[in-house]
């Protein structure tokens, strides 16, 4: 819009603006935050789209993610290699999906991916158990955890295959008014 910056070309910024929910300023700010994580690794000049990935261990040190029990899964979901090493595109994508303007359908899809630990496109009992343990930080006993998993499966599983497919998950989320406001990270 008039500010001279040499981090991105104009086409790159336009592409970012069209494909995410961020404005130019926010994208430049995000680049600053990305660079802060690994200043030696991330160059200032991104005009030739370098293939740099910041490892998982550094990304989860961000204050927005540090205390989140699902931080590892979030970062892994939004990384191309599935191991949590994020390029800048993945980084922007992650915060764009988790921002306020992001629609419910999109957030539901990614929430499902996050809670699906074994990545088999189903949330099985083991995934549920892991989610619950992370959520309660190990405060529930093993018996209580298994009871809760059974109960959740009973409530949400509509087709009776003892695992939650995406349509089961989506059906359950569509009735939860809290989801949209809770599944939101301010950056």
């Amino acid at each position: 819009m008039g500010n001279k910056q040499t981090t991105f070309t104009d086409e790159q910024l336009e592409a970012f603006q069209d494909c995410t929910f961020f404005t130019r300023k926010e994208i430049l700010r995000l680049h600053g935050r990305y660079r802060e994580l690994a200043p030696h690794l991330v160059p200032l000049d991104y005009t030739n789209s370098p293939d740099i990935r910041v490892p998982l261990a550094l990304i989860v040190t961000m204050p927005e993610l540090k205390e989140n029990p699902f931080r590892d899964r979030i970062v892994e979901t939004f990384s191309e290699d599935g191991d949590g090493n994020q390029s800048f595109n993945d980084f922007v994508d992650m915060f764009s999906v988790l921002c306020e303007a992001s629609p419910r359908a999109l957030k539901t899809i990614y929430a499902f991916k996050i809670y699906d630990y074994n990545r088999d496109n189903f949330i099985c009992k083991e995934d549920l158990r892991q989610t619950l343990v992370k959520l309660t930080k190990g405060e529930l006993s093993a018996e209580e955890v298994s009871l809760v998993c059974d109960k959740v499966m009973e409530e949400a599983d509509l087709d009776g295959d003892t695992k939650l497919s995406f349509s089961d998950f989506e059906n359950m989320i569509s009735k939860a008014p809290d989801f949209l406001s809770n599944f939101h990270i301010r950056i």
Binding site: D93, K137, G160, F183, I185
Partner: protein
């Protein structure tokens, strides 16, 4: 008739009429033997049929509508099967290029693909579009239209980008949400919304009322009093004859200044004045009338169209509570370590409670316990209502006492010092503010002895009790201003009662700010009503909200911990807007309507002097228009009387809710039906339970069809 027409223009008859038209077009069956929609089930079908026709002619359009939903429903198919991926990718690119720019952006942003893939798709789509565009022959006029649309879109996005970049309080909001979560954040976001709202309305009143009057001050220069510090609190003294109050505004048409040799003298029956031949003129009374009306109209539209309204209405209460607790209860915004630990503990406790409930079923409450609880609730409510009524009577008698004091003062020979009189005017606001501060404390004490099922219910009860108190206090004050002061202003020696009432509003606003930093509802009602008498009031409210934000934030950061008992916070924004803004808006608009319609304005000040009622300004203008253009007379005679807005909206909401519920049941039935088809290979014992389930679902579906038949049979309007 003309009166009704003008009044209903200013109050949201447009909104009411459009709701009714929408409802008519959507739900009511048109007559079968007359009209352009005969033999259609609903009027909307005319449009639907046209869309179907278009889709038949151009098959891409239907694919387009389906492609997006396909992608959302099969988000994993995109990337999992590489063989079919390229064909799907081609289809996606094809669909993208057929869309307009805005729709393309919306679809791109909503795609569950990685950013790299999205930007590649975008590039391919725009390349292909450029290729097909160069071969296509676009006629010049549609190309021009295309360029205009692109330029307008560019302009709009740059304006949005600028607004976004202002980012008022971005860091502060982040800190609050990081420490306290979404619930507390919603209050601060509410303050921010109110601030922008006030800013917008201040721009409207400033541009149309304050600015013209400042540029053309009224003819006789007002006598200047000395400025003492008390004006900032009392609003009287030096501020009386300034653009702050109603009394300063002229009641004639303003003309831009012109040179002497150009002007000519007009002498009418009442006055002789100079008039310029062809310069800009500005009809002040009309502007005043329509600006106030327009600001109320805009307020109504913004409130009704508020985005946070629809987002958090819960429909299906019973099922999947535990599942929702597990998947949707973690607030991703919270980042402070202690808050996170607290939240984790809370969720754990809630899950344990839910588990206990589910395992042991609901304990049957004994009759005695129920009776005891009812008695306690009744007692608490009795205390609250009694204190509210007591406060209302107290304010009534105190305001009467102040009124009598003023009467005595105006009749007496030896006048008190003006500064003492001004200071004594602060007494009523102080009393009201003290009541607003202390009585809610009493309500809290009463609520402490009650036992509620959930903290959110306790919050709603507290809000409604406070609301009851505020509304009754405000009602008494309105009676005092509009019923006592406005009816006979000469008794207290006033020439201009509107300015006096405006000053009262200013005093209340300032004292309210000093006393009750918790209370924004009172201020909201005050400024909405007060803007009629004090066009600058939104500016005062803006300053107050600005300071309030920082004071509250400081207080919250220093004094509060994250809530020990978490509660459903998604509906807080809706609650704030519904309970707090709408009663104050409705009350204020009722008062303003009554003032404009029935009360005689002062004869010696303000833009409506020498009129019987304020509404006459508008009436005269319409009569003028009719005189100039006789066709308009027919228009004013065929006015639309809007039907009940609330009724129409409520019916629409009910129909929509039923539709959603039915679709949910339908989905459930279809999924189980699908499963049953797979199950046919399984063991007979399991088959039996599945069969039972299938029978249950079939029954549900039967109920749904019969209930939907009932709905269509009982459609209103028959």
């Amino acid at each position: 008739m003309t009166t009704v027409f003008i009044t209903l223009l200013c109050i949201p008859s447009f909104v009411g009429a459009s709701v009714c038209v929408t409802y008519t077009m959507w739900s009511i069956a048109p007559s079968a033997s007359c009209g352009p929609f005969r033999q259609l089930k609903t009027m909307i079908q005319a449009g639907k049929r046209w869309v179907e026709e278009l889709e038949r002619v151009n098959p891409n359009l239907s694919v387009l509508a389906r492609a997006h939903s396909y992608l959302v429903e099969h988000p994993f198919s995109c990337l999992s099967e590489p063989a079919s991926f390229s064909s799907k990718r081609e289809r996606l690119v094809n669909n993208l290029q057929n869309l307009s720019v805005g729709d393309r952006e919306r679809m791109l942003r909503g795609m569950p693909l990685s950013l790299g893939v999205k930007s590649e798709l975008r590039q391919e789509a725009s390349q292909q579009e450029r290729q097909t565009q160069s071969t296509r022959q676009i006629p010049c006029c549609s190309r021009l239209k295309y360029y205009i649309i692109i330029a307008a879109r560019h302009g709009w996005y740059s304006w949005l980008s600028f607004l976004h970049s202002l980012q008022l309080w971005q860091v502060a909001l982040k800190r609050v949400s990081g420490r306290f979560g979404t619930g507390v954040l919603s209050y601060f976001i509410f303050l921010k919304t109110l601030l922008f709202f006030n800013l917008f309305l201040f721009l409207v009143t400033g541009a149309f009322l304050v600015l013209p009057q400042v540029v053309h001050p009224p003819d006789p220069p007002p006598k200047n009093l000395l400025f003492t510090g008390l004006e900032l609190l009392s609003g009287a003294g030096y501020f009386t004859d300034t653009v702050m109050y109603y009394g300063y505004y002229c009641n004639y048409t303003l003309h831009s200044t012109c040179k002497d040799h150009e002007a000519y003298i007009i002498s009418t029956a009442n006055e002789t004045r100079l008039e310029c031949p062809s310069k800009l003129s500005y009809n002040m009374p009309l502007a005043y009338f329509f600006t106030i009306g327009a600001s109320f109209f805009i307020t109504c539209i913004i409130l009704v169209m508020s985005k946070s309204f629809g987002q958090s209405f819960r429909i299906d209460k019973s099922h999947s509570i535990l599942a929702m607790k597990v998947f949707c209860s973690w607030d991703f915004k919270v980042s402070k370590k202690t808050s996170v630990e607290l939240m984790s503990e809370n969720i754990c406790t809630q899950i344990k409670e839910l588990l206990a409930e589910v395992n042991h079923k609901m304990k049957k409450k004994k009759a005695l316990e129920v009776l005891w609880r009812a008695t306690v609730h009744g007692l608490a409510w009795a205390i609250c209502i009694a204190s509210t009524v007591g406060c209302a009577f107290g304010i009534y008698f105190f305001s009467e006492y102040m009124h009598k004091n003023l009467e005595r003062e105006s009749r007496s020979i030896t006048k008190e010092k003006p500064i003492v009189v001004e200071a004594s005017m602060l007494a009523l606001p102080v009393v009201v503010s003290v009541i607003n501060l202390l009585v809610p404390g009493l309500f809290n004490a009463a609520a402490w002895m009650e036992d509620y099922d959930s903290p959110s219910f306790r919050t709603y009860v507290a809000i409604s009790r406070n609301l009851m108190l505020k509304m009754s206090v405000l009602g008494v004050l309105c009676y005092h201003w509009l019923g006592r002061v406005a009816k006979s202003p000469e008794l207290i020696g006033l020439q201009c009662w509107e300015t006096f009432v405006g000053q009262e509003f200013y005093r209340f606003l300032i004292i309210d700010f000093i006393f009750t930093l918790l209370d924004t509802l009172f201020g909201e009602f005050l400024w909405r009503l007060g803007v009629l008498f004090t066009p600058i009031l939104p500016a005062v409210q803006i300053i107050k909200l600005f300071l309030l934000f920082y004071i509250k934030k400081g207080s919250v950061m220093m004094n509060c911990q994250a809530p020990r008992k978490p509660y459903r916070v998604s509906q807080m924004t809706t609650v704030f807007i519904t309970l707090l803004c709408i009663p104050s808006f409705v009350g204020a608009s009722v008062c303003v309507t009554y003032t404009m319609w029935s009360i005689a304005p002062s004869a010696s000040c303000g833009p409506f002097r020498q009129l019987k009622t304020m509404i006459q300004a508008g009436k005269r203008w319409v009569e003028e228009l009719e005189r100039v253009n006789p066709n308009l007379r027919h228009l004013s005679n065929n006015h639309l009387l809007p039907q009940s807005v609330v009724d129409g909206q409520r019916k629409i909401i009910n129909l929509l809710q039923e539709q959603i519920q039915n679709e949910g049941d339908d989905k459930k039935w279809l999924i189980t039906r699908l499963q049953s088809i797979h199950e046919q290979r399984r063991t007979p014992a399991r088959k039996l339970t599945r069969l039972k389930l299938l029978m249950e679902q079939l029954l549900l579906w039967k109920n749904w069809t019969s209930s939907s038949l009932e709905v269509t049979r009982n459609k209103p309007g028959d």
